[in-house]
Symmetry: C2
Subunit: 334 residues, 2 copies
């Protein structure tokens, strides 16, 4: 275990043991399936409702299994840590989520995920399960990256899953759920910062080196390089470095309404997330932008990485109503 | 800022800036007061209801302000990081929480907290606000410690606040709310482990040194020493070291029902908490104990410390009903 100071047993069993604990703790909300691994709502597919499926590498908990439940996902597919799930995991999740009205897959833009969800979709179509896919690419830090063509999908994924989930829950058809998911994707942007690296259990050493007096602006959720390294700065200065590219990319105008979401990377105290939120909100308000909805917490993490990301979603009445709709998952509930 | 790799500005402003962000993000649930600092429900005291107040040093977020809201606390009083709030902060919180039926203060057993809440109670009595105090001492790791006479109060505090809060919300009088709080205290026990230390912002260096290959069993939530240091071990072995003293101290018998609560210390990935939960549950079930309620997450933290604690609460029908009662706070909601 040298070099891995973690509450784990065999590194090869981390995902399985996590799922077993998760399923036992939340048996009123989710059902955990093994061989292959995927998570569904405890009651299975809802007849006549569009099924929502997401997934990706583990290590970003509560994403995605924490968002399975009424008002959000029907199924989630966890891969190995920071590794895409395989098509033979995703395909049965599509089947389990299909209530006869088709399935929408919400995929973060990483090459492996996009390919594997696509292959699984082909398997599903051969079994007469209709699958549409939307790809989330909210990270404004980099165009193309270590693992992607185009921008990466990061914390904005939570907004896509919540809002598309609410649309599916109220009975929208596949075309409509896909359309609203794409509307969220078109209006959500994020950027993150890392103060420390994280260690993948089976790797046994940090994914990258970050000197004690430097931080990485524009970090990816797997510790991929961002825009640049800078000396450690105050929270207000860092928040401005994250928020400005987000606001510029969205071309936000005075008078617009937004959801402001400050996400913790896993190892960041809640107090620091609220300090960042406070400054991000002040910067938005100084531009005349109205923060009408908020979310602060660890929702899309990178194991024990210390850092945070700032996500802004442009809201209209439709998106606000769907954001506010009831949700009953293990990680998001109102 | 050397030595403090945190998303903060001036270390002296951490608590104020955290409260400002917290209040702005959750204006539908809480109201933040300054000079002195305390947090109340947005609507203030509920007429005729017993008021519930808690508080303590900051750095344990979401404890306590995250538990202000319907079904739980009426007010919370945050001190400086790892430092008791002062009587002149606590006294106005008592006044603000008093709906005419008296106030119950829930205090973790640290000498400074106990003294300051007592002094504030005397100030309140002089203004005809009746205050009773219960002291939580659930940590079985040590008898007496760096900051206490008797056992320390740790994660079990969440169960006291939730269950007493539900009793107050349904209209129980001060005697009854005090009695049920004491019943929870008598039936809840915890023990924790630290994998890494944490750094108090204004201190600028870690609170203690923990070698790369050692962990501290029985750690306190301020990094105070526990029972002993041992070489890093697997999660299952560590979980057994935490759970066994808890179960023994409770003298749990086969056939009893419990709440199993695995709490993250702030810097621990959710996956690791579920791995610990899974083992703790298996150990309880092997003893014939029924885990009928569960809670897993970061609820009583120590800044960015990596580690976890295991809490067990013996349940009967009354405590189960009160645990299940609706709660609408920023950190606990159902």
């Amino acid at each position: 275990m040298a070099g891995v100071k973690k509450l784990i047993n065999d590194p090869a069993e981390v995902v399985t043991e996590t799922l077993d604990g998760f399923g036992a703790a939340h048996a009123d909300v989710v059902a955990v399936h093994h061989d292959p691994d995927f998570v569904t709502r405890v009651g299975g597919a809802v007849s006549g409702k569009v099924g929502l499926v997401s997934g990706g590498g583990s290590g970003h908990e509560p994403l995605h299994a924490g968002f399975v439940g009424v008002g959000m996902l029907d199924a989630a597919v966890p891969g190995a840590v920071f590794t895409s799930p395989t098509p033979d995991q995703i395909f049965p999740a599509y089947q389990a989520a299909d209530g006869g009205a088709g399935v929408l897959a919400i995929v973060k833009n990483y090459t492996g995920d996009v390919l594997n969800f696509e292959t699984a979709g082909e398997l599903a179509e051969a079994e007469d399960v209709t699958v549409r896919t939307v790809v989330v690419n909210d990270d404004v830090a980099v165009e193309d990256s270590l693992y992607t063509a185009g921008r990466r999908g990061v914390a904005g994924t939570v907004a896509v899953e919540k809002i598309a989930g609410a649309a599916a829950e109220r009975g929208d058809d596949l075309d409509a759920v896909e359309a609203v998911a794409k509307k969220v994707i078109a209006n959500v942007r994020s950027m993150g910062v890392a103060l420390t690296a994280c260690t993948v259990p089976h790797a046994g050493k940090p994914s990258f080196d970050l000197p004690e007096d430097e931080i990485e602006i524009g970090i990816g959720i797997h510790g991929e390089p961002g825009r640049r390294r800078i000396p450690l700065a105050g929270a207000d200065e860092i928040t401005e470095l994250l928020l400005t590219p987000v606001v510029d990319d969205l071309q936000l105008a005075s008078g617009e309404d937004v959801l402001l979401f400050v996400n913790g990377m896993g190892g960041t105290p809640a107090s620091e997330l609220y300090i960042v939120y406070r400054k991000a909100r002040a910067l938005l308000e100084a531009r005349g932008v109205n923060v009408t909805r908020s979310l602060v917490g660890n929702y899309v993490t990178s194991l024990e990485m210390q850092g945070a990301s700032v996500t802004v979603l442009r809201l209209d009445d439709e998106l606000t109503t769907l954001w506010d709709a009831p949700v009953h998952t293990t990680a998001l509930r109102w």
